[in-house]
């Protein structure tokens, strides 16, 4: 969508397409929508602000529980945090057999789970609430703002690449650099000079596929969820005193409630899946082929 179209939309009131495109455009450091698909000179300010804010909020809660943790009878809050922590610890114990590695990977998995849950939960806010407040605050009625950091591919790929780096680190740490390089060229088809290039190709594809699917899965779910919320919001926006408009408004209330309730499951499930995959991938880095 070009700037021209946005300006045009502003003068007439946005069409459905314009409304959605506007909502799917990031507030970035250039001040206008990113032109190229890949441009590493640009930062999405909204994604950074909300992901850091959610990370700080999530870890603040965990830290509060940790700083008051007692071995006596726990309060409800402490018990709730312990519940999540033990769930993650149990999963980590089942997947990663090295206690030394778990010292880093289990807290990492907990961080990922809680952080992603908080970021996903931003989707539960009304789609127009924060953008509208932001537009009012800045006085710019076309200011872009996206509040769900996990509905930004940069956010999810950033985390999945983080998991990839952890995997590479443990590959080298557990197998030794030589052992890992040997594995790169000898697995999965077997150690033979003829098969070496094929093995290496397969390994590269495997790493790339894992990382991209890891990030894309979360992104796709949250992006689609956000889009559905916007479509539902459009139904309510059709309110115009006509019968159809009133029916659509009621449809908004019903569909919006249903989707929001269903989304509680999705945001939790996606956070859990991302955490589990992070554990599984790092666990694979510990095992020789």
């Amino acid at each position: 969508m070009s700037e021209h179209a946005v300006e045009q939309a502003a003068s007439h009131g946005p069409t459905a397409g314009e409304y959605i495109v506007h909502h799917l455009t990031h507030w970035n450091t250039t001040g206008h929508p990113q032109a190229k698909i890949v441009d590493f000179s640009v930062f999405n300010v909204d994604t950074l602000i909300f992901s850091v804010a959610m990370g700080v909020a999530a870890l603040f809660l965990l830290w509060r529980a940790a700083s008051k943790a007692t071995s006596g009878v726990p309060g409800r809050f402490q018990a709730a945090v312990e519940l999540v922590l033990e769930m993650v610890a149990d999963q980590a114990k089942g997947i990663i057999h090295s206690a030394e590695s778990r010292k880093f990977i289990a807290p990492l998995a907990l961080t990922v789970f809680v952080w992603i849950f908080f970021m996903n939960a931003m989707d539960m806010l009304p789609v127009d609430l924060l953008p509208l407040l932001w537009q009012t605050a800045t006085g710019d009625h076309h200011a872009y703002l996206r509040v769900v950091p996990t509905a930004d591919l940069n956010g999810t790929l950033g985390m999945s690449i983080g998991v990839l780096l952890v995997c590479l680190y443990y590959n080298v740490k557990i197998k030794g650099f030589g052992g890992w390089v040997h594995e790169l060229f000898s697995a999965p088809f077997g150690s033979h000079p003829v098969l070496a290039p094929l093995n290496f190709m397969m390994q590269l594809i495997e790493f790339a596929a894992k990382t991209i699917s890891h990030g894309m899965r979360l992104f796709g779910n949250m992006y689609a969820g956000e889009l559905v919320f916007m479509l539902i919001a459009l139904m309510g926006a059709a309110w115009a005193g006509t019968f159809t408009g009133a029916a659509l408004w009621i449809g908004h209330v019903i569909a919006g409630s249903m989707w929001a309730i269903f989304h509680i499951l999705i945001i939790t499930l996606q956070a859990f899946i991302f955490m589990m995959l992070a554990l599984v991938y790092t666990g694979q880095a510990h095992e020789g082929h």
Binding site: H26, N28, Q34, K36, I37, V38, D39, F40, S41, V42, F43, N44, T47, L48, S51, V52, G55, L59, L62, W63, A65, A66, S67, A69, T70, S71, G72, P74, Q78, V81, E82, L85, E86, A89, K103, F104, A106, P107, L108, L110, T111, V112, W115, P149, D152, L153, N154, G155, L157, G158, M159, I161, G162, L165, F219, Y223
Partner: protein, 157 residues
């Protein structure tokens, strides 16, 4: 869905948050959990020990009761035996005293009878001699027949 440098920023945030959790969140909670697990384990062990102690004490109490009952029974048996013995002794003592008394009485009675018999014989002899004197007053010379009379007197005795 454009890619940009946000990705690297997110990557950095990812590791910073993970480091924070690893350093400040995970260890204290895990420590508290482990300590609580230990406390519970200790508590359970203490409860088991107390139960065992109680069982032992009960067994000991039963033993002591049994011993006491046995001792009491023994004591009573001893006392009864002693009492029976005392009664036996008293009975035999009484029998002895009675026998002695009877013997003494019988001896005394025998002696008295003997004395009475002798006195009676004396009197019968004297009477016989007197009667014979009266019958034979004239025919018998006391001096001549003194030896005869003495013999007779001796025989009657």
């Amino acid at each position: 869905m454009n890619l940009n440098a946000t990705l690297f920023a997110q990557l950095a945030v990812f590791f910073i948050l993970a480091w924070f959790t690893m350093t400040f969140v995970w260890p204290p909670i895990v420590k508290a959990l482990d300590e609580r697990a230990k406390k519970i384990a200790d508590g359970l062990a203490a409860a088991d020990k107390a139960k065992m102690d109680l069982a032992n004490a009960e067994k000991k109490a039963v033993d002591e009761m049994r011993k006491a009952r046995e001792a009491a029974a023994e004591l009573r048996a001893g006392a009864e035996r002693q009492a029976a013995q005392l009664i036996d002794e008293a009975r035999s003592e009484a029998a002895r005293v009675i026998a002695q008394a009877r013997e003494a009485a019988e001896g005394e009675a025998g002696a008295a009878m003997q004395r009475a018999k002798e006195a009676l014989r004396e009197q019968v002899a004297a009477l016989a001699v007197t009667g014979a004197e009266r019958i034979l007053r004239r025919e018998i010379n006391a001096n001549v027949h003194a030896e005869l009379l003495a013999n007779l007197h001796q025989e009657l005795k």
